[in-house]
Symmetry: none
Subunit: 288 residues, 2 copies
Amino acid sequence: MGADGATMDERVPRDFETLRATILDRRASLPKRIAQIAAYALDNPDDIAFGTAASIAASAGVQPSTLIRFAQQLGFDGFTSLQQVFRERLRERNSSYDERLAALRAKAEEGAGHRAIFDGFVAAASTSLSDISRALNDAHFEEAIALLAKAETIYVLAKRRSYPVASYIAYALGKLKIRNQLVESAAGLNAEMIGFATPRDAVIAISFSPYAPATIEETRAIAEQGVPIVAITDSSFSPLAQFAKIWFEVSEADFGGFRSISATMALAMALTVAVGEKRRETGRRRKG
Amino acid sequence: MGADGATMDERVPRDFETLRATILDRRASLPKRIAQIAAYALDNPDDIAFGTAASIAASAGVQPSTLIRFAQQLGFDGFTSLQQVFRERLRERNSSYDERLAALRAKAEEGAGHRAIFDGFVAAASTSLSDISRALNDAHFEEAIALLAKAETIYVLAKRRSYPVASYIAYALGKLKIRNQLVESAAGLNAEMIGFATPRDAVIAISFSPYAPATIEETRAIAEQGVPIVAITDSSFSPLAQFAKIWFEVSEADFGGFRSISATMALAMALTVAVGEKRRETGRRRKG
DNA sequence: GCCAATATGAAATATTAATTCCAATCTATA
DNA sequence: TATAGATTGGAATTAATATTTCATATTGGC
């Protein structure tokens, strides 16, 4: 007794991912019609989940018996048990995006342990992304890219909660070989740093309520020097908005008093990469 | 002829929402057992989609015939056609989120202007969040929280692309009044900084391929001093994994060569806030 | 409290779908 | 090219599942 015996179903794939891997693995060695139904199964998993052996076989252009042979070759004892795997998959990802989010948030708000905290942050991030995806103004986005693309140096200005975004922008700009200056508060030399900026440069300033006084002050100073500013902030009443040539309103969902920054991050990354893209285009045009 | 006649199925709900509304509407006037199966259907739509008349009836505590009567009362000609609505719902729901993402990504990959870049980053971030939500191991998460909660000082270690995450963790830990030390490379004093760490402290180390050599080296050094390490990285082959007591594998989707960091951010935020929570609990217990 | 109308339970029946079987066809090898 | 072995198609068989039926119970109006 033990490992061998009547059952023999020790290595039958129980979840969709394993099944998928198994199929892809054996793909090359499968006979023609079996391969055909295998391909169909991976391409139309929903049909397998809902159809009958006959209907699926017809759609895939094979006989029902082939479908059963396929299942058996994978170690299942028939089509029905293969189908279970496809149904289970649908169950697991069953709910719609919004329902899933609502469930996450509900679970999080019930406060069921530490997992709930994680779920809460995932939900907040997802919500924020979905919001910004809807709200982003294409025209503003294009203007901001154009403005930043022709800057000699891009100054990046953010403190506290927004600082991670700024440091990411600086990192990405560096990788794209775009001259930039992260205005950090460490050495207290910000005023001098800002002093070097000219109207041929540009600024990305990021601040959310409660707005860090230093960010506001520095933005004001640099705006007075005539340096154009792109602001990422959270409302039209934001003090940044008045100094900015272009500003984006990003509303981030919060959880447990900590606001998400994923929407801001996505916007920042897109802005950065788009500026890189634009510069390459312009460079080519100049050359050609 | 026209509206009346033999068929009479003009107002049969064809989609789930209409069906749901119809059921809720008639709820009060339904006989006991029918009401019972109606409630069950709205609470467990997945079971209706996949079960057999017999299995569903058993779960809901009624006879199969009652289930059929329920369907007929709603205007369907049997259980099978009622079931179609529940199956259709799963099909649509499922596709909506994934299709939306796929559409975003497709648009992004076609490269239709700058908006496409933005869509690409939003899609990458959403995918990453959804992946980590599925993949996160609760047990590891709890262990990590426990480990970090009892640390005297939490050292945060990350360079380059991961640095924004580290700076966010440091900011959040600070707000939660948890002693922490961000190991930055600026002044070149990292070795000395690390030298102060003891086994009563703990480390959060973050690094993704290509792993910044400095992060690896510093993690190794601090591990050799017996300081327990929680790592966030991208594979079990990561050099960080070997030094870590607990490590999380986070797979981030990428767009245009820039990987998302939203999943890592969500995990980092959750970890931080959960540690704060845990400390407060423990503090209370000690007092009370 | 009685009667008619309605609702319910349980088993019989009809329908549909999965599986098996066998003959026909293809494929690789000597 | 002959032949064994594998693969496939299609119909027959078996299993499962939905539906119907009918006896029994319950409810609401008088």
